[in-house]
Amino acid sequence: MFEDGAIINELLIERLNYIIYVVLLLIGLHAMISKQNLIKKLIGMSIFQTAIILFYVSIAVKDNATIPIYKTEHDPHGDAAKAAVLDSNRSGEETKAFYAPVMLKPEETQQYSNPLPHVLMLTAIVVGVATLGLALALCLRIQQGYGTVEEDELLVKIERSDARYSQSPLAKAKNRRRTQSRNTRKPRTSVKSTKSIGKSAKSLESRDSTKTKKTTSKSNLSQPKKKPASTSRKPRSSSSKVEGSKPTTPKAPAKKASEKTRAPKKKGAE
């Protein structure tokens, strides 16, 4: 296979479609991994998807075959069938027997290309655009929450908001209460949350930790006072904390979003 330039013939001439499908797939994959912009990632996903569809359609091709629609002579409703019915002065039963489509012979089957991959890919394209729309909606939501769709800026902002969240005494008190309520998982969660926060956040926290230790009793005392005010926001933050391994709860955006979701609701109620 590999000697006297046969591989060039094999790959570049007989199987050029497959080579191009691999190349397009790799372009899409590379874009999905390395591009920073989320929209660029989605474009890469689109290219990846079309590459796979190209592969399937290439499989369906047959030499000397037409599109998978019956030619007029095989067509149950074509001009040929109608003409045959009109020409022959047959009785009703005979016409019916004549008119009924016949099974194709094996050599006639070879005249049509394979319809099965076409069907599979037809629905894949439409579902592809639906998923693209969904992904774009998520991009818009990210833009609303963080003000950017660039991945590197996004990571910085998430880290910063995490740090801000872990600093606030309210969150600390809440965290402590949560971990107390389920004692067994206490070490794991605390380690995780500090780890995922960036270096700056860690240093901030270590600096703060002495302060918070001192004020522990105080905050415990003041808890009942704070509680009624925070009840409305409590389920949101706690649920989002449980969701991901990273505590990605940007406080400010969540607050903003909650306000905004409330406003149109009122309008709708009116």
Binding site: L16, N17, I20, V23, L24, I27, G28, A31, K35, Q36, N37, I39, K40, L42, I43, G44, S46, I47, T50, I53, L54, V57, S58, A60, V61, A65, T66, I67, P68, I69, S113, P117, H118, M121, L122, I125, V126, G128, V129, L132, G133, L136, C139, L140, Q143, T148, V149, E150, D152
Partner: protein, 82 residues
């Protein structure tokens, strides 16, 4: 042979447009080039005999998906950093 030349030409052009769509910094241009890519793909499939798939790709890939991308980019920043 003529058709195979045509085929090869479109296949090479596909790679070029795919690279161009990912290379451009302006996202609206990228969406437009992606539309071109979709339409080339549709041409290739029509030529391979998959007319239904080509029709779907022409309406969905080159039509709706470009419109939806542009409509989204309208609400985002237009320039990308890479």
């Amino acid at each position: 042979m003529g058709l195979e030349l045509f085929n090869t030409f479109i296949l090479l052009l596909l790679v070029v447009t795919a690279l161009a769509a990912l290379r451009v910094r302006d996202l609206i241009t990228a969406a437009a080039v992606l539309g071109v890519y979709s339409f080339l793909m549709c041409l290739l499939w029509a030529e391979m005999g998959a007319v239904d798939v080509a029709f779907t790709e022409a309406t969905v890939g080159a039509g709706i998906s470009t419109v939806v991308l542009v409509a989204t980019i309208f609400n985002l920043k237009r320039k990308s950093n890479d």
